[in-house]
Amino acid sequence: MTKPLVRPKRKDPLKKTREPLLPHGQRSRTALGLTAAAAEGRFALQVCTDCSATIYPPRDACPRCLSLRIPFKDVPNGGTLLAETTIRTSIDVYFRERMPWRVGVVELDCGPSIVTHLHGDAREGERVRMEFKLDRSGQAVAIALPERDTPNMADDPEWRELTCDPKFRRVLITDGRTGVGQAMAKALSAAQASIVFVGLADPWKPFPGEAALKAIERVEIVPLDMTDSVSVDDIAGEIGGRVDILINTAEHVRAGGMIERKGLNVAREEMDVRYFGLMRLAQAFGPALRARGADGVNSAAAFVNLLSVYALMNWPAYGAFSATEAACLSAAQSLRTELRPGGVKVMNVFSGPLETEWYQSVPPPKVTPDALANAVVDGLRRGLEDVYVGDIAQDVRTRLAVNPKAVERELGA
């Protein structure tokens, strides 16, 4: 039984903040196939096309038939914990301050046996669920979970080291004016975040849902204008050291491609809110996030970007918007590497058209703000790096893996 997490006390200002350390992050290029699966929360191993053997650890040729045709495929993740042990001492600087640490050997139903981290409720001889998770170095590691959910299982220290659970963490939602921002505040409060800071620009402009937003438990409204460097710096100065999860909900959706737009003003606003806004957040909040990656139960954990799936391939009906989203995706990839020394994850959450006023003329399926918010909470709890929300996003993702040129043509049709 997992001991429930206790809400951390306020920080002792006389104590040095523990520096974030990382477990070893080197992997072979082939082994990054596991990282790709872990980033999306899939369990994939190499499967030999010729002899059907399931292969672990990752190899460049099938150990049974020497075939080179061994792509990663999603495989069943059930198994049996054959043996376990508890490590109590280590010379590795990351693990030695996290002792004791349980590891074990799991025999997978699909064939291979695997040395793995263990959730506290996984028992020797019992059935387990295997998952690949991104550790603080950003690389895939295996962890065995009990076959069925157990009480407080998300509070297990080994599991929490691999996830970004909002419970008892302090969250900043950058824009509360939108439906998405408000749904996000509601979802993060329900996920037991200890404070939900919600940014508001132009406080002189009233907006729908304002009273309900302010009434959400543990919501604190803060002035934050993503288009104003001074505003972003000011609020980071005030609360930057207390933000453990940053969720950027700033949006600027306008239809139109490159030719239809008359002039650059709208494109500039788009880039200002989205791309430059992201850069402002990175510069203002990044240093403290990166420095606080090992700061106890409420350590800095994640920087969340909400992105249009058309960041991956331009949708000309919203062509200029798609280009801005692509810029944000690229920036987020850089930010991911820059935050890694702190063990802080950058989670990109892709969705197709949302059920909001700016996609009014777009037919369903559309993603509701609530669905998007729930996907963010789910992704944080699972420690994901890339999340595809809804049918359209998943469809674009799948089709891109097959034939990107076909997607380009079809989106322009």
């Binding site: 132009d202 104003d228 001074v230 606003e269």
Partner: protein, 261 residues
């Protein structure tokens, strides 16, 4: 005028017998700009990005890059700003005769009415009552509308409801009267525009913009400190930036006021 009088004027400013009143709000990112429906083009708010501040970007100097719209903060409206003034000669800020940037002002106080009714619109009767007390409005004078709106902050200043902003301004007849009957130099307000908050429902819409600019005259908005000006006798210095084909510009508006003894 002889040179001595002009030097006397400078001396009067230096010794304080003419006081200089700043009618300008500080340009800052948080100052509201006019709001259009979101699918229309928007006026950019004021933004400041540091170039360097005695640091690795420039070791011994501090300076900033600015961005804003022509109609951000306390600003000047040129006739070309409005469709009614689009074909007039010398109607952009770079071509307006520079002498226009110095002119006397009549200050009409409707602050009591505006306090009681945020949608209050200045009437011809108000102007006639003002003239009964202070004399006829001379030609080529600014008429500045004191509402004390500049004392309101943030949400109260814009006063936005679901049916748009609610702030005082002139009614169409009053503007037409000021232009046709009194040949005013321009019209200035404390509110975000020279028109009332609900002026898009007037006929014509935005009458101050329509008539004032249609007659080649000027607007000043987002003014402050109008309560420090006498009803007559102040001289306004209001030179916009010399922007090629500019429709307006943020500026420093100063009032020269003879010191009350």
């Amino acid at each position: 005028m002889d040179a001595q009088s002009l030097l006397g004027f400078a001396a009067a400013i230096a010794d304080g017998s003419i006081s200089v009143v700043d009618l300008t709000h500080t340009l800052s990112p948080s100052f509201p700009t006019i709001v259009m429906p979101p699918e229309l083009g928007q006026c950019a708010p004021f933004r400041m990005e540091e170039i360097s501040r005695y640091d690795e970007r420039g070791p011994a100097w501090y300076w900033n890059n600015l961005s804003m719209g022509e109609h951000t903060g306390t600003h000047f409206d040129a006739p070309i700003h409005w469709v009614s003034g689009k074909d007039l000669p010398n109607s952009s800020v770079d071509t307006i005769p520079v002498a226009s940037f110095i002119a006397p002002a009549c200050v009409v106080d409707i602050s009591a009415q505006a306090a009681a009714n945020p949608d209050y619109e200045l009437t011809v009767a108000d102007l006639e009552a003002w003239e009964a007390a202070h004399g006829r409005i001379p030609p080529r004078n600014w008429v500045l509308l004191r509402t004390d709106w500049s004392k309101r902050l943030g949400r109260d200043y814009v006063n936005m409801s679901e049916d748009g902003p609610h702030s005082p301004g002139p009614c169409p007849d009053a503007v037409r009267w000021l232009i046709d009957e009194r040949d005013v130099h321009g019209f200035g307000t404390e509110t975000i525009g020279t028109d009332s908050g609900q002026a898009n429902h007037s006929n014509p819409p935005y009458p101050a913009h329509y008539f004032v600019h249609g007659h080649g005259r000027y607007g000043l908005q987002c003014l402050t400190n109008l309560d420090l000006l006498p009803p007559t006798g102040a001289v306004i210095f209001s030179a916009p930036l010399k922007i090629r084909k500019g429709s307006g510009s943020p500026l420093r508006v100063l009032a020269l006021v003879p010191r009350r003894e």
